[in-house]
């Protein structure tokens, strides 16, 4: 068990160091390097001068939004026309309008909440040219925005060029990594074919239709880009997405690899590696805590078996045997720490208290978080931490040598409150009306948790689910679609506005009175602001959902 933790948590932590260095060189090349000049020339030839010129944060954000809008438009067209498009050997039909909206919003925002089942509804064209393509460019969008934030905080007057960042990230960071992982997965037995489903005649003379497809390509970028949207309905529990112990390890490492490396990239671009180390330490300790909690809570046998003649074992409902015990719980912790959202066991069937672990991860949404955006979220908690400390000593707070004042704090608090407002507001609305209450599978507190989980997952741009929920309805599709869009763009726009505002200020010299943000003390301050703010905001719903569920099970 402890070896499993080392494999899926410690190994990527070591790999993240060289990768963070490489990512920095690739996304933020020195102006005179051959690679920098060569790529700039290509981008300006293909995209025009606006694809390479330096931008301020407003212009950068505008480019990001325009590009994302076009991503949304293109994928909507692909999904709406899939019945007439090629690469559809199994003749998948038209998709319902609200499902198209939800799916487009979901993949553009790097969420990958899926209200459809891939092998039932999606043609290979939709999977490859719609969804998988977005798994590259939505991830690249997040990483690009982090690079911009880091440049602003590093004191540069301009924050780079969005198009150059996006193209460099897609071509030179995501593509090579995805190729490596996809080939490893191929070797591990993941299928990759454009042929349609095959009809098998089983040993008991029944027929079984076996859906397959170009799985390996999508599987790799699904994990690397913290996307999480699987080729098949049950995601990485499906033997074709995740055929063995070996592929499970590869996929689990791929989930955290880039989010971890992004921290070091942030440190290098800002020129403050000690600050990055502090952030990494906070994130890593939260991840280890989550992993250990999930492993411990999920080791408890299925409560429904008490008194029945069943051997004592860890909870096996919704789990696959080939990954070994513990793999499901650990994955649940990792996939919701980062905003990945792929699953290798069914979260709805986790023990009630284990279900609290993924929820808590998504409430905080900063334990490495989504590629790029996780650290952008963390930036808000850091600003809040700096502010609280400033208040305590009665001094204007500073971050990276710039004064943090009213304007920045207003924006930071706004950014902080969007997340709980969307989760709690949505959950309240749907729990109180048939739109949500009539769609739950399990009764009582567990049913409430299904609704809570769905909004949490949408707002955290995570994409995992308590899949018992019958969520392919118009109200669910529209509501979570809107939540995903708001929860993606507001927490990118506001932090960049803060960073832009900070960068425009005169630097203040560091003195003995300056609160240093690269110390052990500050590590605890960030840790505290993440845990306390997360806990205070969500404690009541945690009690109404998973905790009540757990206590009810004890009573029976």
């Amino acid at each position: 068990m402890s070896l499993l933790i080392v494999l899926v948590l410690i190994v990527p932590a070591f790999l993240s160091w060289p990768l963070g260095r490489a990512m920095t060189l690739l996304i933020d090349p020195r102006p005179n390097s051959t690679y920098g000049r060569w790529t700039s020339r290509i981008f300006s030839k293909t995209g025009g001068a606006a694809a390479v010129e330096e931008q301020d944060w407003k212009s950068y954000l505008f480019s990001m939004l325009i590009f994302n809008l076009l991503m949304f438009a293109f994928v909507t067209i692909v999904l709406a026309l899939q019945q007439w498009l090629p690469l559809n050997p199994d003749g998948k039909g038209a998709l319902e309008a609200s499902l198209i909206f939800n799916t487009a919003a979901s993949f553009v925002t790097n969420t990958n909440l899926q209200h459809y089942s891939g092998e039932v509804s999606m043609s290979y064209f939709s999977q490859l040219f719609g969804l998988m393509w977005l798994q590259f460019v939505s991830a690249a969008t997040g990483i690009a925005c982090l690079a911009a934030l880091a440049r602003a905080l590093g004191g540069r007057k301009t924050v780079g060029n969005f198009y150059s960042d996006l193209m460099r990230t897609t071509l030179f960071i995501l593509l090579p990594l995805a190729l490596v992982v996809a080939i490893l997965l191929l070797a591990g037995g993941v299928p990759m074919t454009l042929d349609g489903a095959v009809i098998a005649h089983t040993l008991e003379h029944a027929t079984q239709t076996i859906a397959r497809g170009p799985v390996a390509a999508m599987e790799a970028i699904k994990q690397l880009g913290t996307n999480g949207g699987g080729f098949f309905g049950p995601n990485s529990t499906h033997p074709f997405e995740n055929p063995s112990f070996f592929t499970n390890i590869i996929e689990c490492i791929s989930i955290v690899l880039i989010p971890m490396a992004a921290v070091w990239m942030f440190g290098r671009i800002t020129g403050r590696m000690r600050d990055a180390a502090v952030i990494f330490a906070v994130m890593m300790s939260l991840l280890l805590l989550k992993g250990a909690a999930a492993l411990w809570l999920e080791g408890v046998p299925t409560a429904a078996f008490s008194g029945l003649p069943v051997e004592i074992s860890s909870n096996l409902e919704g789990k696959e045997l080939r990954f070994g015990s513990g793999a499901g719980a650990l994955w649940a912790a990792v996939t919701t720490a980062t905003s990945n959202g792929s699953v290798n066991c069914m979260h709805d069937s986790l023990n009630p208290l284990t279900g609290l672990v993924p929820l808590a991860g998504m409430w905080m949404n900063v334990v490495f978080g989504g590629v790029g955006v996780g650290l952008i979220n963390m930036f808000i908690f850091i600003i809040v931490g700096v502010f609280i400390c400033g208040m305590m000593v009665g001094r204007t707070p500073e971050y990276f040598g710039r004064k943090v004042e009213t304007r920045e704090m207003t924006l930071a608090l706004l950014a902080l409150l969007v997340h709980p407002a969307l989760i709690l507001g949505g959950t309240a609305l749907f729990a109180a009306t048939p739109a949500g209450a009539a769609t739950v599978l399990n009764n009582g507190a567990h049913g409430f948790t299904e609704i809570l989980y769905e909004f949490t997952s949408a707002a955290a741009n995570n994409g995992s689910g308590f899949e018992g929920l019958g969520d392919n309805t118009v109200p669910w599709n529209v509501a979570t679609g809107i939540v995903m869009l708001l929860a993606r763009y507001i927490p990118i726009i506001l932090p960049l506005a803060i960073a832009g505002s900070l960068a425009a200020k005169k630097p203040v010299p560091e003195t003995a009175g300056t609160l240093r943000t690269d110390t052990l003390l500050f590590t605890f301050i960030i840790f505290g602001s993440v845990v306390f703010i997360g806990a205070l905001l969500f404690l009541p719903v945690a009690v109404l959902g998973p905790v009540a569920d757990h206590l009810a099970a004890l009573r029976d």
């Binding site: 092998e119 301009t158 190729l179 990759m192 040993l203 055929p243 919704g318 789990k319 069914m346």
Partner: protein, 192 residues
């Protein structure tokens, strides 16, 4: 450096996006997929779904996908919430504390006809996440040996020997599994 966003600037941005977007599609969905498809040609067995074929070439199933077995002479796989539908996979999504799981388990236990004091391994009464888990724990297979041996008129020792020869170890954890389809094929071959 652009500090303001004029209308002209916006249209210029729009034009750049329109030019670069198709390029990313070409690279991510064309070039990338093409390379992986090419590599996949080198391993046709697994890249086409690890299909298991009979001597006459007909597809029996996939090594990775569970199929239904309900006759006494075969080892039975884990329960499936989707009745082993490999074109619409899924788990039960039931809470492990739910009455529904308890009732399902009681029904399964009745089918397994336990002897007094006997306990069934948990994987035989829990539905997997995909509903297509191709494996059983070694204990769950061993549990079924007496039934299979009786139905086939084989000695228990003979079936146990076969079971041991198909055992698969999972790394790191002290657990071993068997692939149900492979095991059942081996059984059929034994009696051919």
């Amino acid at each position: 450096m652009k500090t303001t966003l004029s209308f002209r600037d916006m249209t210029r941005q729009f034009a750049v996006s329109l030019r670069l977007l198709p390029l990313t599609i070409l690279i991510c969905s064309g070039f990338y997929v093409g390379i992986i498809l090419l590599v996949a040609q080198g391993i046709p067995y697994s890249s086409s779904g690890s299909l298991v074929r009979a001597e006459n070439g007909n597809v029996i199933g996939s090594e990775l996908i569970a199929q239904q077995f309900s006759r006494p002479e075969y080892f039975w796989p884990r329960p499936s919430a989707v009745s082993w539908n490999a074109a619409g996979a899924g788990g039960s999504n039931l809470s492990p504390a739910s009455l529904a799981i308890r009732q399902r388990t009681e029904k399964l236990l009745a089918e397994l006809a336990l002897k007094k004091g006997e306990k069934v391994p948990a994987d035989l009464v829990t539905a997997s996440g995909s509903g297509l888990d191709p494996h059983l724990s070694f204990a769950a297979a061993k549990f079924q040996v007496p039934r299979v041996a009786r139905a086939r008129g084989l000695a228990i020792a003979q079936v146990m020997k076969l079971l041991h020869s198909t055992k698969i170890a999972i790394p790191l954890v002290n657990e071993s599994l068997v692939n149900v389809l492979q095991l059942n094929r081996a059984l059929d071959r034994l009696q051919q």
